[in-house]
Structures are given as structure tokens and as C-alpha cells.
């Protein structure tokens, strides 16, 4: 499409007029003026999460660029330059702290955004690619977290990266090759640091910016997803200025939260996987100490790896675990195509329940990875049986409350997947059964439940308020 340049010599209209004559901005402005956001059925809150994620991403770009002015990747400079940034550079402590906090808040808002999209079935046609680009963006964000963690070159980061990259070995066939590529050698070394630095500041940002642009373009092109059952929104709010100004309000609120956390908890909330105190410089020759854990968003994978025995179904236990993670992530990415009822714009209560069950499944693994209730204090190691029991109490309680709310407030009637997840947690945590054995039984129960539902005709329809 080319711009009509016949009236380029005309004068007037100020800067906009000057630009409009050259680049044809009027259609864009017209488009923005008529763009609307659906309102009235669901809480508007869910529509803001994408914008909040974008805000945190922009914060990452800004604070990351500032850090880049002082950070020097190298065996004798990485740790020292971060120390310099936090102690000597004016407001360097604030920039680093905001960068770290913003990274975690971005993942939180991204995951929440994705779950809200899933629960509202916003991925249904024609918005499948919005979901897929979103999924890739989530993977990239996790890649950012993983690569950025090593850059301070401190003890915790070094060993966590060694443990994290080691799980690459479990990828069948090409595991060792992948490990070598990622580490730049057999062990985590300065080569790994340089690779992660390149990934963190060049490769991932380039891909991320491209994909964010694509994600935003498809949203702008297709508009925001109307609530299920409506081809168009029953009522709309103007995107510009109404929604955009509200977005700006939210961004300012996010900035207030971010700044407050950065000032009062500059090294994170001291929860394993959400802390970034510099500590000691990495020493590749020092022995790894116990209790090293990756960042919180990888903890469910870490815990799943621990739940697998040394050998499982003829595979290495870790290989089986990685395969399971791959299958789960693959299924998550393919959700728009798996959810056939949503494709037909019909209620798909089963997938709503899968969303709820996934949250319980991930939450239980996260709590277990944190050894909640295990009584591990000081040198005393947590008791795994006690941890499983206490975590089971927590998550069975949360699942019960959530299910009660879904049944009474949202009038939902489909809880099969939630029930199967709760069954696994109860068998494992309360009866002391092995995690995988409990999972096997829950899976059998789920399949029987699904077969019974199928024999009755179809799934119980979701009742909407």
C-alpha cells in the first residue's frame, strides 16, 4: 500500500499535518478512534493484564539498558560490575532491584494473562495465533529469566545454572549436544556466561520485540476477543482514549508497586527462587551446597524431576520427566486446536476445569519444591513425607474453596479434572503413596470419569451467570 503524495506540498495542519501528508496517518487515527474493547460481561480486569505485562516488559528494556551501561561480562568483571552498580552507581541499586522485581512481576502478569485467556476461551477462532505468539512470548520470558540469572556470576546463580542446564541432558537423543551448546563446553564456565549474556541482551530481545509486535498487531487487527457466545461485543469501550487512559492508570499503579518493592525489599522477598542478593562470587572449583533451587517459575519442573525414580518405563527417570514436561507444554501451546467446543464457539466447561486443575497441579508442585511444612530449619533437612502432607492440606483446601466458588458464584458444574488432581494430591500427601503412583491412579479415575460422561452423551454444560 502506498501513500498518496499528491498533496505533499500543501501547508498547514502542524506537525501532524506534515507527517500525515507524508505517511498517511489519518486512516490509522480513524482506526484507533473506532477501535473498541468489549465490556459488560466479564470483569474488565482481565483485559488489562496484557497491557500490564507489556508495561513490565518495557520496564525491563529500560532498566536493562541502564544496567548495560555499567555491566561488563567476564570472569573477573561480572560480579564486580554488579557490585559496583549496586554500591557506587547513583540509583544503581534501584535500577537493578527494579529490573529483578519487574522480571518476576512480568512472569506473574504473563501467566495470569495466559490463564485468563484460557479460562475465557479467548483463543478460539480466529485468534489461535494470538495464543500461539503469547505462548512463545511466555517461553521467551522464561528464557530471559534463565539467562539473566547467571549474569551476576555469583555462587547461587552459578550452581542454579549448573543444575538447570544439567536437566538438558535428559532430552532424548540430543541431550548431551544441547547441554554442550548451552554451556559452551561440558561444564558451566565463563563460556556459558558469555553465551547467556548474548542471549539475554541481543538474541532474546530481538526475537521478543518482533513477537511482541506481531502479538500486538494481530490483536489490533482482530480486536480484543468478545465474550464467548457473542460474535461481537454487546457493548464497547473506546480503546482510545478511554481504555488507553485506564491502561495508563494501571501502569502508574504498577510502577508504584514496583518502586515500593524495589525500595523496601531490594533483594526480593527472601523466598527460594525469588531472591537476588549478590552473596559470594562464583567459584567453579567450590563444591555445590545443598538446597540450591532454580527460580520459582521453574520449580514445578524441578519438583517433577525429583518425583521420578531413576528409571521409568525403560527410560531414565529424568528423560521421562522432561518428556512429560514437553508433552504438557505442547498441549498448552495447542490449546486452541484441542478445545473443539470452543472452536465451535460453544461452552467448553472441560477446558475451564483443565485450567483450574492445572493451577492446582502447578501450585502443589511449587509448594513441595519450597518444602512448605517440611520442618527443614538450619542444618535439619525437611521431611519429604511431612512436606507432602502439609502441601496436600494446603492445596486440597484451596481446591475446595475454589471449587465451591466456581459452583456457587460462577455456577459451573464440571469438576472432573480438578477432582482427579485433588485425588492425586490426597493419595500422595495424605496416604503417603508415591507421587507417580498416585498420578497413575488419578489418571485411571479421570479416564473412567470421561468414559462415563461420554456414555451419557456429552459433558455437563457450563452454566453461566
Amino acid at each position: 500500500m502506498s501513500v498518496d503524495t499528491s498533496n505533499i506540498a500543501k501547508e498547514g495542519g502542524g506537525v501532524f499535518g506534515w507527517l500525515d501528508r507524508r505517511y498517511g496517518l489519518t486512516p490509522l487515527v480513524e482506526f484507533m478512534k473506532h477501535k473498541e474493547v468489549p465490556v459488560g460481561v466479564h470483569s474488565m480486569f482481565w483485559y488489562y493484564l496484557g497491557g500490564a505485562t507489556l508495561f513490565f516488559f518495557m520496564m525491563q528494556v529500560c532498566t536493562g539498558s541502564l544496567l548495560l551501561l555499567f555491566y561488563q561480562a567476564g570472569e573477573s568483571t561480572s560480579y564486580e560490575s554488579i557490585r559496583f552498580i549496586t554500591t557506587k552507581v547513583p540509583f544503581g541499586w534501584l535500577v537493578r532491584s527494579m529490573h529483578c522485581w519487574s522480571a518476576h512481576l512480568m512472569i506473574i502478569s504473563l501467566v495470569t494473562h495466559m490463564f485468563s485467556t484460557m479460562m475465557l476461551k479467548a483463543y478460539r477462532p480466529p485468534r489461535e495465533m494470538t495464543w500461539v505468539t503469547g505462548f512463545i512470548l511466555l517461553s521467551l520470558a522464561l528464557g530471559f529469566g534463565f539467562s539473566g540469572y547467571l549474569l551476576p556470576w555469583n555462587e547461587l546463580a552459578f550452581f542454579a545454572t549448573a543444575v538447570g542446564t544439567d536437566s538438558m541432558k535428559a532430552v532424548p537423543g540430543i541431550g548431551d549436544f544441547l547441554l554442550q551448546v548451552l554451556r559452551g563446553g561440558t561444564d558451566v564456565s565463563i563460556n556459558t556466561l558469555h553465551r547467556f549474556f548474548g542471549l539475554h541482551v541481543v538474541i532474546l530481545p530481538l526475537v521478543m520485540v518482533g513477537l511482541v509486535t506481531a502479538h500486538l498487531l494481530v490483536i489490533q487487527r482482530q480486536g480484543m476477543a468478545p465474550p464467548q457466545g457473542h460474535k461481537t461485543a454487546p457493548k464497547g469501550m473506546r480503546f482510545f482514549p478511554d481504555f488507553a487512559l485506564r491502561d495508563l492508570q494501571l501502569w502508574l499503579m504498577c510502577l508504584i508497586v514496583l518502586a515500593s518493592l524495589a525500595v523496601f525489599l531490594p533483594y526480593g522477598p527472601h523466598i527460594p527462587g525469588i531472591e537476588w542478593e549478590l552473596g559470594k562470587k562464583a567459584n567453579p572449583l567450590a563444591p555445590a551446597y545443598p538446597g540450591i533451587k532454580p527460580e520459582w517459575y521453574f520449580l514445578w519442573i524441578y519438583q517433577l524431576l525429583k518425583e521420578f525414580p531413576a528409571h521409568f518405563l525403560g527410560m531414565e527417570g529424568s528423560q521421562a520427566a522432561v518428556l512429560l514436561v514437553g508433552l504438557l507444554m505442547g498441549a498448552w501451546a495447542m490449546m486452541p486446536w484441542l478445545d473443539r467446543r470452543a472452536q465451535r464457539d460453544e461452552a467448553s466447561p472441560g477446558f475451564t476445569d483443565i485450567g483450574a486443575a492445572t493451577l492446582i497441579f502447578l501450585g502443589f508442585l511449587l509448594f513441595k519444591a519450597w518444602d512448605i511444612g517440611g520442618g527443614g530449619i538450619g542444618d535439619k533437612l525437611p521431611d519429604p513425607v511431612l512436606t507432602a502432607r502439609i502441601c496436600a492440606f494446603w492445596w486440597l483446601g484451596i481446591a475446595s474453596v475454589a471449587t465451591a466458588l466456581r459452583a456457587t458464584v460462577l455456577h459451573q458444574r464440571y469438576f472432573l479434572f480438578t477432582a482427579a488432581t485433588a485425588l492425586q494430591i490426597a493419595l500422595h500427601g495424605l496416604l503417603g503413596m508415591q507421587y507417580l503412583a498416585a498420578g497413575g491412579i488419578a489418571l485411571v479415575a479421570l479416564v473412567i470419569g470421561l468414559l462415563v460422561l461420554r456414555s451419557r452423551g456429552q459433558a455437563v454444560p457450563e452454566v453461566r451467570s
Partner: protein, 519 residues
């Protein structure tokens, strides 16, 4: 699929099939295949695996021994394989007829049987086969013949065996022959050079000067320790080995075998004529030295031999006890020597260090020892022995006040540092100052031994300065935190105003739209 999953989860792993036995030479195979009366094999699967994994040379040596019937029974082969030792050690056993013959439970009476478990075999506890094969002499190739006489290749016991020491009825009632017997080799510099050139050869000479030597060699007191009392008999190891009875960490236990036994020590008196106490080891274990050696594993900390000597063990008398302490605490010794206390202690015939710090139960000294009040060590002693000396009281008070101030200041600043570190403030300067303060406290405590105010002050001054500096740095860090908080509040107020402004703008937009919608 699910069935498979469950089957895999609950399936028991099948028991591993026994490894096929490697082809063994006939004589050895005959022993390896030996069975009990009920038909079960004598060698366990693990022992068979050990045998199969042995190198060719060891297999040949064992087979030769089996062929000549010195390795005489499957039970003996099982005992040897159960030792779980390197093949080289099995080579030594297989070429030593003394061990082979005395380790065969089927051909040896329990009284003379070397067994991996003497208690179960009803044998003498000293005839422990495991200990024997770990013995430093055995591993150096000296074998049984080295002490007992004969040759390892002898098929029958020659008459010269057991003629190197007194007859049985004498050698157990008077052990004074043992030091000389061991010294045949250990005092021979030429001989010892062939095994361990760094090992001293003056043990016997020293032993003769020791209290133990005096009791055994002159008074023929059989209760007095000699070589085997400390080093054991058939399981002698290098003192560097953690399993050795004379490894630094084992020394208190070894000495305590006699010295902590009231029955054994009955009748022995100190130089002052009092009964020799038996609580030294108990006290030592609780002392700063005992804790360092036995709990922290600091091999530099002294055990019994660190102060008393080993082969020349003597109770350190008043004259020498302070010299013993000075071996490690040299600076404190020098300061004491140049102090006024030196002369006073000599006049009272007090052991210098021990007078204040104790002996076996020395505790980590704290500042509570120092001061001019009677509840302190200084104050109490001066109240009894040197009342009319106000300068001493003033000095002791000054020491205590200064040290108390530095230590309390350190506590206070440390607590602040932890809090400020959590707040993300730069605590490196304070940490440096605290490190200077710690060094000054250590130095000042040491300089107390000069009992001179000026010497003490020279060491304490950097500490008081470091404390002052760290307090100043803490103040600066607090100011920085206040600045951050105020900055945050300002930023929040500004942003909240923006949020409110946008809210007003939105309301205005809605109102203007409503107005324009009205007809």
C-alpha cells in the same frame, strides 16, 4: 498404556542373576566351589565376585597356595575374600605361609587363629586378621617373621620362633623387654632408612627418660605403658592414619585407657604427693583445645602429647609448663616475660600460664577474667596477694572497660549491619571497619599479658577508632535509607496525582459524551 504405567510403578525389580564365575585354576576352583554340609556354597556371591575380579597374578598366587594346601579350606578362602582389601594385600597374604596357616579355621585351634572376627571365632582379640592386614609393618613386607622369627616361606614352624623374647611365663609378667625388642629395628638408623627415612630413631632413648620408662625399666612396673600399650600389637598404623591409636584425635582416648581408669591409676602420686587424678581426659574434652581437636578437627590443636610429649612423656613442672604453652602462644609468652608479673610469679613459684588459664580444662578466655572487682580473676588474686596497689586496680579496670566498650559496640553495629544489608544498602565500608575492630580486640586481649596500660592502649586505639568510624558509616547508611524512603513517597504522591488526574479526565470525557448524547 495406563496398565503398563501402573505395572511399571508397582513392579518389583527382578533379582539380579548371579554373575558367571570366571575360569579359575583347578586348586582354587575346588576351594571356590566348596559347599557346607547342607549343600549351600561356602563363598557368598559377593566373595565369588571379588574372586572373579582379582588380577591374574593374585589368582595364580592364591592357586599356588591352594595347590600346596597351605591355603587349606574354602572357609579360609572365604575369610580372605571377606577382608575387602586391594589385590596387592592379598598377594602379600598368599605368599606368607605364617598368615595362611594361622588364618585357616579348619586346621588351626581358636587360640592361635587369625580371624576377621576373633570374637565370633572364639579367638584371641589380638589375632584380628583385618587389623593384621592393615598393619604398617605387614604392608611394608615385614610379615610375621619380622618379629616372631623364621621366614614367610617356611612350611613348618622352625625352632627359632619365639626365642627372640623371654619365655611365656616371664614375658607377660614383666614387659620391660618390649621397648628394647621394638628398638632392635626402630633405633637402627640404617635399617629404618630402608622403610621410612623420616621416622625418628630416638624413641627408646626418649622412653628411658619418661615417667613410663622409669616405672617399667627401673621398677619393672607392668602397669606402665610401653610400645604396644599405645601402638597396639598386630594392627599398628602410621600416626597419620585416622584409624591409628596414636593419630592426634585418638591420643586422648589412648592415654585415657590408663589415665582415666581409677583402678589402673591407683597408688600413683603427683610430685606433691597427692593421688594422681583421673579426670584429665574428661576435662580436656571440654577444654578449648579438646573442642578444637576433637570437634572442629583442627589437627594443630594440642592433644595430651602436645604438652607432655609422647615417647618422653613427663608431667610438665612449674619451670617447663609455660614453655609448653609458648610453643604456640609465643607472643603472649614474650609479653608476660617483660611484664611485672613475671617476677611476682617466680617468687610465688606459680606456673605462669596455668595459674590463670588452668591446665587440662583451659577454656576460651573471656574479658570476664579481667577487672578490679573480686568476681574477676585479676581482682580476686590481687585482693589476696597484692592489696595495696591502686595502679594495678586502675590498669585492670581500664583493660576491662576498654574491651567491654569495643565488644558491646561491635554487637550493636553488627545488628544494624544485618538490618541495613537486608535493606540493600552498601555495608562494605562498615564491614571493613568491623574487621579492623575485630583485629584490634584480638590484639588488645593479647596485649593484656603485658599488664601495661600503654602497650594495651597502642593495640586498642585502632579498635576504638574503627568502632567510631563504623558508627559514623551506619549513620550515613541510615540517612541514605531515609533519602530512599522520602524519594519513594514523593514519587508515589506524584504518580497518584497523575492517576487521579487521568481519572478526572476520564470522568470529564464521559460527562461531555452524555451531554452531547442529550437531545
Amino acid at each position: 498404556m495406563i496398565g503398563l504405567l501402573l505395572a511399571a510403578l508397582f513392579a518389583q525389580t527382578a533379582a539380579a542373576a548371579p554373575a558367571p564365575a570366571a575360569a579359575l585354576p583347578k586348586p582354587l576352583a575346588a576351594l571356590a566351589d566348596g559347599k557346607h554340609k547342607d549343600g549351600t556354597p561356602i563363598l557368598t556371591q559377593k566373595q565369588r565376585d571379588t574372586l572373579a575380579a582379582l588380577p591374574e597374578r593374585t589368582i595364580k598366587l592364591l592357586s599356588d597356595a591352594a595347590d600346596s594346601m597351605i591355603l587349606g579350606s574354602p572357609e579360609e578362602l572365604a575369610a580372605l575374600l571377606s577382608l575387602d582389601v586391594q589385590p596387592q594385600v592379598l598377594d602379600l597374604i598368599a605368599t606368607d605361609n605364617c598368615v595362611l596357616c594361622h588364618a585357616d579355621p579348619m586346621n588351626q585351634k581358636p587360640k592361635a587363629l587369625f580371624s576377621p572376627d576373633p570374637k565370633a571365632a572364639g579367638s584371641n582379640p589380638l589375632l584380628n586378621l583385618r587389623e593384621l592386614v592393615s598393619d604398617v609393618h605387614f604392608r611394608a613386607g615385614l610379615s610375621c617373621a619380622g618379629c616372631h622369627g623364621g621366614k614367610p616361606s617356611d612350611d613348618v614352624m622352625p625352632k627359632e620362633i619365639a626365642t627372640r623374647w623371654p619365655a611365656e611365663e616371664v614375658r607377660h609378667t614383666d614387659r620391660s623387654w618390649i621397648p628394647e625388642f621394638c628398638a632392635r629395628c626402630h633405633s637402627d638408623t640404617q635399617f629404618m632408612r630402608g622403610f621410612n627415612p623420616t621416622l625418628p630413631t630416638d624413641q627408646l632413648a626418649k622412653y628411658k627418660t619418661s615417667k613410663h620408662g622409669e616405672l617399667l625399666l627401673e621398677k619393672h612396673d607392668n602397669n606402665a605403658a610401653q610400645c604396644v600399650s599405645c601402638h597396639s600389637v598386630h594392627g599398628i598404623r602410621s600416626a597419620k592414619s585416622r584409624n591409628s591409636t596414636v593419630h592426634p584425635q585418638k591420643v586422648p582416648e589412648t592415654c585415657g585407657k590408663c589415665h582415666a581408669d581409677p583402678e589402673h591409676m591407683k597408688g600413683y602420686l603427683t610430685s606433691a604427693g597427692a593421688p594422681l587424678p583421673t579426670d584429665q581426659v574428661e576435662k580436656y574434652k571440654k577444654s578449648v583445645h579438646g573442642q578444637a581437636l576433637l570437634v572442629k578437627g583442627d589437627l594443630g590443636a594440642p592433644s595430651c602429647t602436645g604438652c607432655h610429649g609422647s615417647h618422653a612423656a613427663q608431667p610438665p613442672e612449674v619451670a617447663s609448663v609455660s614453655q609448653v604453652c609458648r610453643r604456640c602462644h609465643a607472643q603472649n609468652g614474650m609479653l608476660f616475660d617483660s611484664s611485672r608479673h613475671k617476677k611476682a610469679f617466680e617468687e610465688h613459684k606459680w606456673p605462669e600460664c596455668g595459674q590463670c588459664h588452668g591446665h587440662h580444662d583451659i577454656q576460651k578466655p573471656t574479658v570476664s577474667l579481667i577487672g578490679n572487682t573480686t568476681d574477676t580473676l585479676c581482682g580476686k588474686c590481687h585482693a589476696e596477694n597484692s592489696k595495696d596497689n591502686p595502679k594495678c586496680n586502675e590498669t585492670a579496670k581500664h583493660f576491662r572497660t576498654t574491651l567491654d566498650e569495643m565488644i558491646a559496640g561491635r554487637e550493636e553495629v553488627s545488628g544494624e549491619v544485618e538490618h541495613l544489608a537486608e535493606m540493600g544498602l552498601d555495608i562494605e565500608p562498615v564491614t571493613r571497619s568491623l574487621s579492623d575492630l575485630d583485629e584490634a580486640v584480638t590484639q588488645s586481649k593479647a596485649k593484656v599479658h603485658s599488664f601495661s596500660m600503654s602497650t594495651f592502649d597502642a593495640a586498642a586505639k585502632p579498635g576504638t577508632e574503627a568502632l567510631q568510624k563504623s558508627r559514623q558509616e551506619i549513620g550515613e547508611a541510615h540517612n541514605e535509607f531515609q533519602f530512599r524512603r522520602r524519594g519513594l513517597v514523593g514519587a508515589i504522591v506524584f504518580m497518584m496525582l497523575l492517576v487521579a488526574g487521568i481519572g478526572l479526565k476520564l470522568r470529564e470525557l464521559e460527562r461531555s459524551r452524555k451531554d452531547s448524547d442529550k437531545p
